[in-house]
């Protein structure tokens, strides 16, 4: 079996090489008994199949973390026929440290000098032939992100599997000996850059304590606008599906005298499910393109530098800033963005914190509901209250789970390199975002269809009146309990839908408050934007108090973000236990919050 392992520090572009080599033929699982992710993929070259193992991101092989231990054991086990060591050509001396650590392992290897384009643009000259001569293994200058040169890499790998080479080294005892060895290899083979560093260009603003933070926030906001632009064409096309398909399908099926249940499923449920999955995937695509770009040009590293101090207070570190900012757009994007974290504990804690950040969908429903009950200044206060509570909740999460996930003894502050700004490889960014978006679409189609069917079954009323739906029966049965938390059966049902999808909240409210018409019809039509808010407003204000509305809004915002965020959290954490803990905590915290808000607001808003 031809098994190739990729080894390199997290910023060496290792995952780029892995993704470009294997495309979508990847399998992600767990290393046995550990929460560390195991990525494996395959590719074919000249009719031969090759397996590629992406070794967990680590900085060295000194057994510093689960990731490093796994990496070291895997290489020692001899399961890999060839190890490709990746280094950043633009920062050769530092990034060769991984090779020096690896040198003690007696296995066939090649060295890939990645990001040659950046090195060249900095005017660096690297004599790869001389380096190869000194190391005794092949050295390949490479730019993984532009997608060229992969044929060269594949043919090199094929050749090395036939006639392998091993590193020629002396034994190195400590870190200084390792760097001395690196210097002896690079001596005369690579030009070094300036001895002193001057902050230049954009960094003069980006690295300022105050203005840097302002710039970060501004750029992120512009980024979200760009993400909206990217996804809006997809969403508007998908938005036409229910209208374009609904009536003809219904007409056709009615003509065949099919049972109304089936008509409703095919004309309403299925087109709406498709619409929903497409628009959600478009969201994930837009957010990933923008953040992929911001990461690649080197902006996110600056953002991490800016917010390290604040995040340290949560037991996290600067790198967590990117997923948290992504979460402002979409929690799904934020959860998958936690990959940049150094270890599993930090990754899980970051995901839990990301859940506390209301996503863009929430901001599209809160002002609508608030506007029904309160004047403009009141709505402003509600929004400010929600924003302030984000910080409270983040703090609570870090206090409750921080000690367990990131114990004091393993807490590590930020040690991060600020790469020079460089040009983005658009093709790669879009390809990556597309893979994520498509994966998301496939998962969404499965889960959303299932949940839609359940919801549809609950809300379908044979008589067309809400009182004959299962939703009403269950809702009113448990109402005495939900009242404790400040919510009647109607708002509680909408609270439950909010944990599945925020987009469905207005639809559900419309369905449960309207009462007279067919609940399923109202709920699903509303999901595509057909809510008559003034009618809903009239019905809601007549039925529930301002205090209940307020409690509901807070509960909704800070509950489980959505079904797909839950699914993504499981996918990224590989831990059912911690995913369940996160969901359980958020539901409980939302109910307690609702209870508190209701009872405080009751005397004023009765």
């Amino acid at each position: 079996m031809n098994c190739i392992a990729l080894l390199g520090q997290p910023n060496s572009g290792k995952s780029t090489v892995f993704n470009q080599l294997t495309g979508s033929r990847q399998h992600v699982g767990n290393w046995p008994g550990k929460t560390v992710e195991k990525s494996e993929g395959t590719y074919s070259y000249n009719n031969k199949k090759y397996t590629v193992v992406d070794l967990p991101g680590s900085y060295g092989l000194s057994g510093n973390s689960d990731e490093e231990i796994i990496t070291e054991q895997f290489i020692k086990s001899g399961q890999a026929d060839l190890v490709c060591v990746l280094v950043d050509a633009s920062q050769l001396e530092r990034s060769m440290y991984m090779l020096a650590d690896f040198a003690s392992m007696d296995v066939p290897s090649i060295l890939i000098l990645n990001m040659m384009d950046v090195a060249t643009s900095q005017g660096k000259k690297i004599d790869d032939k001389l380096i190869s001569e000194r190391l005794g293994i092949p050295v390949l200058p490479f730019t993984a992100a532009d997608g060229k040169g992969f044929d060269g890499l594949k043919s090199l790998i094929a050749g090395e599997l036939k006639t392998p080479h091993k590193l020629v080294t002396e034994s190195m005892t400590d870190a200084n000996a390792k760097y001395a060895w690196i210097n002896s290899i690079l001596e005369g083979a690579a030009s070094t850059s300036e001895k002193t560093y001057t902050i230049s260009g954009f960094d003069r603003i980006m690295l300022k304590p105050f203005w840097g933070k302002v710039m970060t926030i501004l750029i992120i906001l512009v980024g979200f606008l760009a993400a909206m632009l990217i996804m809006s064409p997809f969403m508007s096309v998908a938005g036409m599906l229910p209208q374009v398909l609904g009536a003809p399908i219904a007409g056709f099926l009615n003509g065949l005298n099919v049972h109304p249940w089936l008509v409703s499923v095919f004309s309403l449920l299925i087109p709406n499910t498709f619409y929903f999955c497409i628009s959600m995937s478009a969201f994930v695509f837009g957010v990933n393109v923008v953040f992929g770009f911001l990461e690649e040009i080197g902006f996110l590293a600056r953002a991490a530098y800016q917010f390290d101090g604040a995040l340290s207070k949560l037991g996290l570190q600067g790198k967590a800033v990117a997923p948290i900012l992504m979460g402002m757009g979409c929690t799904i994007g934020g959860a998958s963005g936690t990959r940049v974290m150094d270890n599993w504990g930090q990754k899980m804690l970051t995901m839990m914190v990301v859940w506390a950040v209301p996503c863009a969908s929430i901001w599209s429903i809160i002002p609508v509901i608030s506007g029904m009950f309160f004047p403009a200044w009141g709505t402003a206060l509600v929004c400010i209250g929600i924003i302030l509570y984000i910080f409270v909740l983040m703090f609570i999460v870090s206090r409750v789970f921080g000690g367990k996930l990131v114990p004091e003894s393993t807490r590590s502050g930020m040690i991060m390199e600020l790469p020079p700004y460089h040009k983005a490889h658009w093709k790669y960014i879009i390809k990556e975002a597309w893979i994520k978006c498509f994966d998301m679409f496939k998962r969404a189609l499965k889960t959303v269809t299932l949940v839609s069917i359940i919801f549809w079954a609950f809300s379908f009323s044979p008589s067309g009146n809400v009182e004959s739906s299962l939703l009403y029966k269950v809702g009113t049965f448990i109402e005495p309990v939900t009242r404790i938390f400040g919510m009647g059966w109607r708002t509680f049902m909408a609270f439950i839908t909010a944990a599945f999808a925020k987009e469905a909240v207005l639809g559900t409210l419309n369905a449960v408050f309207a009462g007279q018409s067919n609940v399923a019809d109202v709920a699903f039509n509303a999901a595509t934007g057909g809510v008559d808010t003034s009618a809903l407003s009239q019905m809601m204000t007549q039925t529930i108090s301002g205090a209940e509305a307020l409690a509901f809004m807070f509960a909704c915002t800070f509950s489980v973000p959505c079904l797909m965020a839950l699914s993504t959290t499981y996918k990224e954490s590989h831990s059912l236990k911690w995913t369940a803990k996160t969901a359980g905590f958020y539901i409980l915290a939302a109910l307690i919050l609702s209870c508190i808000v209701y009872h405080i607001a009751l005397p004023f808003l009765g």
Binding site: T196, P209, Y305, T410, E417
Partner: protein, 75 residues
Amino acid sequence: MKLSEMKADRTGTVKSLGRDERFLKRITSVGLTEGARFQVVKNDRKMPVLVYARETLLALNRRDCDMIEVAEVEA
């Protein structure tokens, strides 16, 4: 003196990286070893310290920089 106390644009060498084994391994993997020469690029209050060493610009958590003993050298 501590790294966190060193002013911007000064050059120094690392005297000691502290005793924490994990931190030691982690920081050496990015190029800061005992005896290594570096330049402080930026050191603002409450912000990570920006250090340039082995051709790399590094952002280091402030609290960690309290553990690093350095000596200033003439550029």
